[in-house]
Amino acid sequence: MRIVTITPERLSTEQVDRVVERLRTVLRDEQILTSKTDRYNRARVPAPFPVHRWAERVPDLAVLPTSTDEVAAVVRIANELRVPIVPRDGGTGLTDGAVPLRGGIVVDVKRMNEIHELDLENRTVTVGTGINMLKLNEQLARHGLIYPDDPASYPCSLVGGRIGTSGWSLIGARYGHTRDLVLSFDHVLPTGEVIHVGDGIGGKISKSSSGYQLKHLFMGHQGTLGIATKATLKLYPQPEAELSPFWAFDNYDDAYRCVGALARAGVATFAGAVLFDEWKVAYLRRDDEAYIPQPADVRALVCAVMYGYEDEVRPAGRRLFRIAKEHGARYLGDEISEGDWAARHDRYATPLHGRTKAGQVVPMSWHCEDAAVSYTRVPAVTKAWHEIVAGLRRRTDVFDDWGMFAYTSADTGVDYLTEIDIGIWEQQLGDEAWELWVQAKRDIAAAALRHGGSISACHGSCREGEVDLVPQELGRGFEVMLDVKRTLDPNNIMNPGKYLLDLAYEPGAATALAALRGGSG
């Protein structure tokens, strides 16, 4: 069921020329990119992408600004000419915030990657949002400091994209997630005005109760409310010691009980725990040297990770080892524990994990469907999601089940980033398979909502399919989103077509929303 149908009106060549002409008044020629390759290579991200309909997602041009002022000038021109803007940072997102749906201008912030100020006394660094975390931490290491925002795209995603998606961090249970680590930032509104966003006055303040708390509003909007250009980040001492034990179980239920107990233990250096289900272990036996040789009764895994001073981590580690032992865990050994953990900072799947049901290797694109699910609901969501993917595989080899992880989001074990990894064979992807996929995404989102979960813990929920359920998830809050969008972006130029926000400008929105809320799931 498709409730909102968009017929994108694209700019004519003359209109594009006029836009370029205006942009030349605020940017150098080499900052304005109009060639086909420039545009085709700013059309997609790792989110599910209908390769066969690539051309529909190609922007009209891209710009490479180097400062907040340049970004603001570009946005003002776009607002005046009513041309869509699509903010693009790393373009590594697993949702499609950075994919242009209506053409327009891609504002690519990668050149804004300088370190503006390192404040050792207040433990902050102020950076351009085009900087990558690993590269930043290479610089900070000289001062014994670290910015611990650690997604699976750690070596390639950028601070600005982390803000735009309100990212989730693997070690967030210890250090917080992007929303906790970013203190404040400069932000260009859809009208081209520049605001400084943070708690209260922003700057180097971590907690204020002055005024509305706008920081959350301007994080995770998937580029629909503007562009963050310069951010002040919270820094920590680089940890002295790391411990990352991996344990095996002969059944899922024991592993599940164990991960819950580890997370609830309240160990201060606890940075996270991960539960691997039986499908994930079967999947790892395809090609992971750590798991291929494991005996058949290794069916589920749990890992935990701790960071801190050695004299903190050692006793904490003993405590967690004891809990694991009480839950029937078998320690997988130092080599696997250390090797596997180190590989989780850049754990994007590789296409050759893909298999036909008969076992032939095929290149598949990795799609991580995630939800935020409270601990007690994780098993039910896990079961429901595997059934959905089995339904896809029953019909075709275009889709593959790569198993599930559940990661702690918080230091108390309240909720888990619950993900199912699905392979999609893009070389075979046509309209029929794409429609199957979009429906599966609706079903996956509906299952999460049914169990009291949120559609996404980390990626965002604006992809085709799942987005139809967002009004249901947020309830009246979704209408508040529409009001905010209309107020801040009166001409709907900022990343139009995302998150059903076009409804903010349509008189029939109420009917459409009622249909979405009544008919989905």
Binding site: Q238, P239, E242, R286, E310, E338, L352, T356, G359, P363
Partner: protein, 95 residues
């Protein structure tokens, strides 16, 4: 000259005899696992892979993982030591 580390085409294209480790995987060099080649006969064919390349990748992987550990923390604590301490405490008479 009795050196052995020069490049020779014949040597590079003669991998060690594979040992089976599962229905879908083999081992060749120490620490190098490989897919059973029968799984790459239809849609994706394997590339020509001289020995040096397999070893280069395997070694680089280990170096990279070590680097990642150092990047995040000064030292890595060894789980087996902590487990031994826990086990020892459990088996001691006062436990």
């Amino acid at each position: 000259m009795n050196r052995t580390n020069g490049y020779r085409y014949g040597e590079q294209h003669t991998p060690p005899a594979p040992q089976r480790v599962s229905d879908v995987a083999l081992t060749t060099f120490e620490h190098v696992y490989e897919v059973d080649p029968r799984l790459m006969e239809r849609w994706v064919l394997q590339q020509t892979f001289p020995n040096w390349d397999s070893l280069r990748i395997m070694n680089a992987r280990h170096d990279h993982l070590d680097w990642m550990h150092r990047h995040f923390a000064e030292k890595v604590l060894t789980g087996s030591e902590l487990l031994a301490e826990v086990d020892a405490a459990d088996s001691s008479p006062d436990s």
